[in-house]
């Protein structure tokens, strides 16, 4: 039965995330935007709080590692379910709670201990044994290289088998939480001549002497989140830390590593949805204080230009949010969602920029000034249309799927 509301059983969780965002993230939001690279120590307590709540099961498996296909297995054992029954599980809970947290502060959400993108990768491709071994780790994600961004099949970091170890060599950039996390999921190729099939991911622990954080970037936005450049020099990793299967199957291609993105793209869409809603909420309030209320029944063209603009922004935002929920709902119900995940990421990414930038414009110098957070949100949102696949990459994926074209046909 068609229903696009927040799932009833997840409402308490979402409300909780909203309270955390309001009362723990907002008060330190500007502080760590100014103090770039300083560790937000307040987050340790928040992470402990979240872990505590998770153990009670109240989060419904939400969080970075919630996106494991079939991650709701534990719950299933308890109550056998009709396999055809509609499921609202960890994926929906994750996007909805991440959106709330990013309504608080996107950069701080990205800095949340044990909630790294590497955790999402582990959840997506690790074996059961690895999953158990890595429990409690805080994993960053290292894919991008100085010469390789969106064409991640072209990475040059190498992994060479030596006994029961792999030896990694190469340089990774844009590693979110690269300095703070206690491990990094690194993409490397076993044999560059075999193309994307030979790309595997490895879990490297921070204390590995072959891994070095070279520097932290100074950024436009999400400044509370550290973004590291990391080098790997004869970095030796135990063979059991290769995530998933070590086989190089040229037929199966890139699927394994790329499967991560089906999980993480809706999460990034959720970040954009949350960040943009912060701007909408405040702007609506500021407009009301200026005597402009949004009338949902009267035509936009008989209202003020500001109200008409706001309606347009809110409509786009609603579309992005529902695409995000659709992608997560499909994952919860084990439907392949690559297309919908990319649609959600594409729409939410560009809507995030449009909404946050337009809200600054609607609010004039008040919006532009650091006295409000509107200008910050419009800087934070930009990265969400870039990382985990830029707007253009998402369009490429959607276009190929809709048109039924291969990557050789539609380059």
């Amino acid at each position: 039965m068609i229903n696009l509301e927040t799932p009833r059983k997840q409402r308490a969780l979402i409300d909780q995330a909203h309270q955390l965002a309001m009362n723990m993230l907002r008060p330190i939001s500007r502080k760590y935007d100014r103090a770039e690279h300083e560790y937000p120590k307040e987050l340790d307590m928040l992470a402990a709080l979240i872990d505590g709540v998770s153990e009670t099961g109240a989060t419904g498996g939400a969080g970075a590692s919630g996106g494991r296909q079939g991650g709701a297995k534990a719950a299933e054992k308890k109550e056998p379910r009709d396999p055809d029954a509609v499921r609202n599980g960890a994926n929906l809970a994750s996007v909805l709670s991440i959106a709330e947290m990013c309504w608080g502060d996107t950069a701080l959400l990205l800095s949340m201990p044990r909630q790294g993108l590497g955790n999402a990768a582990i959840a997506a491709v690790a074996s059961e044994e690895q999953l158990a071994r890595y429990e409690g780790t805080w994993a960053a994600m290292a894919i991008t290289e100085p010469g390789t961004g969106s064409d991640s099949a072209n990475i040059t970091t190498t992994a060479t088998k030596d006994g029961d170890e792999y030896v990694l060599n190469g340089e990774k950039i844009f590693v979110t939480s690269g300095q703070r996390a206690d491990s990094v999921v690194v993409w490397a190729t076993l044999d560059k001549s075999l193309g994307r099939a030979a790309i595997k991911s490895f879990l490297v622990r921070r204390d590995n002497p072959g891994m070095k954080v070279e520097r932290l970037e100074h950024k436009l936005g999400i400044r509370a989140s550290d973004t590291a450049v990391i080098t790997f020099t004869d970095c030796r990793v135990p063979a059991e830390d290769l995530l998933g299967s070590p086989e190089v199957n040229t037929k199966a291609g890139f699927g394994g590593a790329m499967a991560t993105f089906d999980n993480t793209r809706p999460l990034v869409a959720a970040m954009a949805v949350g960040c943009a809603r912060a701007s909408l909420d405040l702007t609506r309030d500021l407009l009301e204080r200026a005597g402009i209320t949004i009338d949902y029944d009267r035509p936009a063209q008989v209202q003020s230009a500001a109200a008409a603009k706001f309606l347009q922004l809110e409509a786009d935002w609603e579309g992005a949010k529902l695409l995000m929920m659709q992608a997560a709902w499909m994952a919860d119900n084990r439907k392949p969602n690559s297309l919908e995940a990319s649609m959600a990421k594409a729409k939410a990414g560009r809507v995030g920029s449009d909404v946050t930038l337009s809200c600054v414009q609607l609010c004039g110098t008040l919006g532009y000034s650091e006295t409000e957070l509107l200008e910050k949100w419009s800087r934070d949102s930009k990265i969400l249309d870039i990382f985990e696949g830029t707007q253009q990459i998402q369009q490429l994926i959607v276009a190929r799927r809709v048109l039924g074209l291969s990557s050789a046909e539609l380059k």
């Binding site: 799932p7 929920m325 729409k347």
Partner: protein, 453 residues
């Protein structure tokens, strides 16, 4: 109107009132008028034309409304039967119910097998073929929003089913979909807000085999029109209301036997049931840019008298506001269906059309336009479904509906525009349907009334 008056700028021939004609311009305009000899001929034929068949392809042609059937009065003054609100499991879900899916399957077939093949012709004729309307009637479209207790087919509030049906029909053709949905829209309005007497009097004919043509007339032909403040007025006079004004976008006005007319009563908008043939009621052809198969007309009300029982719903504007929202919702669903037709069509076209030695779909500038159509279309669909689902469950859906309307208006038009653009010059000629969808999609955001779910 005097000859000089017709030469005065101000909206005529697309001239703004700031334009001024100098003496040479006036002379040229006068010569031009004389040259339009067939125009003069037509003026000469004007009297005879009154007896001719009403043609909606010709604007400004005005006749009395159809001499409709007599609706036998029945029922009492108590409140009418109301469909129950749908209940929710509390789960986020994008799966239609089995009943809804069955309905969608039937209507989808109707859309592709009956509506689409007739669409181009109906657009030319400015009329929906009888066979198409009969086929739609046969699947029970007119009883879709009418509860089972009143002879309809739905067990509970059917806004979702209605939206899904409108979407599926418009995937065939928007103009024909509007023509086919108009009578059911009036029936739904009576089911939602009618008294027992109104329901007993009118609904049996809608759920029977010979459903009357009927139209929901809310729009008016004025700039910055606000449907919540119609210029059409209703004045109390004893036991009657006297209606005055002009309504536009009235579907198949010449055939209609029953109108639901929006008018301002004591400063608040209200709905009135007006039967065709009433004294002072005239219908004028108003062919528009698109949705032409719906045979759009203007309805002139000059001192039309209706009994006190003609008021449909409350006089406080509550039913009226809900009617406006549900009508906009139907237009959103129509936009989704038409945009889907565009996506289907351009997907095939850009994969087959070869330029520079390969299909044009292999170029990012083309492929990305298609990707954007797919993304925005799905966003339109989800936002529309959310509003429909809230309406069906009896929740406030004002915000969701406003957002759906905004999105469908803006993105729907962009999709229509891109649809033509992707076919290049071929998109501009009538050999392909994209130019019709371009014209149809402009209706979204412009239209009020006509359809309702």
């Amino acid at each position: 109107m005097s000859f000089l008056n017709t030469l005065r700028p101000g909206g005529r021939h697309g001239l703004s009132s700031r334009e001024a004609r100098d003496p040479i311009g006036l002379a040229v305009a006068a010569v031009n008028r004389l040259a339009q000899s067939d125009f003069i001929d037509r003026v000469g034929l004007r009297k005879q034309a009154e007896q001719m068949v009403f043609s909606t392809t010709r604007s400004g042609f005005r006749v009395a409304t159809a001499a409709g059937r007599t609706f036998a009065r029945a029922g009492g003054r108590k409140a009418g039967e109301r469909p129950a609100s749908a209940t929710s499991t509390g789960l986020f879900d994008l799966t239609p119910t089995e009943d809804e899916q069955m309905l969608v399957d039937v209507v989808s077939e109707l859309a592709s097998e009956v509506l689409r093949p007739e669409a181009a012709g109906a657009n030319e004729e400015c009329a929906a073929p009888e066979a198409v309307l009969a086929a739609c009637q046969e699947v029970g479209l007119s009883g879709l929003g009418v509860p089972e207790a009143l002879g309809g087919i739905m067990e509970e509030r059917s806004a979702v089913a209605g939206a899904l049906v409108a979407e599926a029909l418009a995937r065939g053709d928007m103009g024909l979909a509007v023509a086919a949905l108009a009578p059911g829209s009036v029936a739904t309005a009576i089911a939602l807000w009618g008294t027992d007497a109104q329901q007993q009097t009118y609904l049996p004919s809608f759920t029977g085999s010979e459903a009357p043509a009927a139209a929901l007339a809310l729009a008016e032909p004025s700039v910055l029109f606000d449907v919540l403040q119609p210029a059409t007025t209703a004045l109390r006079d004893g036991q009657e209301f006297v209606l005055d004004g002009v309504k536009s976008a009235v579907v198949r006005g010449a055939e209609d036997e029953l109108f639901v007319v929006g008018a301002l009563l004591d400063g608040k908008p209200a709905l009135f049931l007006v039967e065709s043939g009433a004294e002072g009621l005239e219908v004028e052809a108003d062919p528009s840019m698109g949705v032409r198969a719906a045979a759009l007309t203007r309805l002139h009300l000059n001192g039309v008298r209706v009994p006190a029982e003609a008021l449909l719903g409350d006089p406080e504007g509550v039913a009226y506001a809900e009617c406006v929202r549900l009508s906009r919702l139907a237009w959103c669903a129509l936009a989704v269906g038409t945009a889907q037709a565009v996506l289907d069509y351009v997907t095939t076209y850009v994969n087959e059309r070869v330029a520079f030695g390969e299909p044009i779909s292999h170029r990012q500038s083309v492929a990305f336009m298609v990707a954007d159509i797919a993304i925005e279309l799905q966003a339109m669909r989800l936002v529309t479904w959310k509003a429909a689902s809230r309406a069906a469950r009896g929740k406030d859906f004002g915000r969701e509906l406003a957002l759906a309307r905004q999105l469908c208006t803006e993105k729907g038009m962009k999709i229509g525009n891109d649809g033509v653009q992707l076919l290049g010059g071929h998109g501009f000629v009538k050999e392909h349907p994209v130019e019709r969808w371009y014209r149809d999609l402009r209706a979204i955001g412009v239209m009020e009334g006509a359809v309702l779910v």
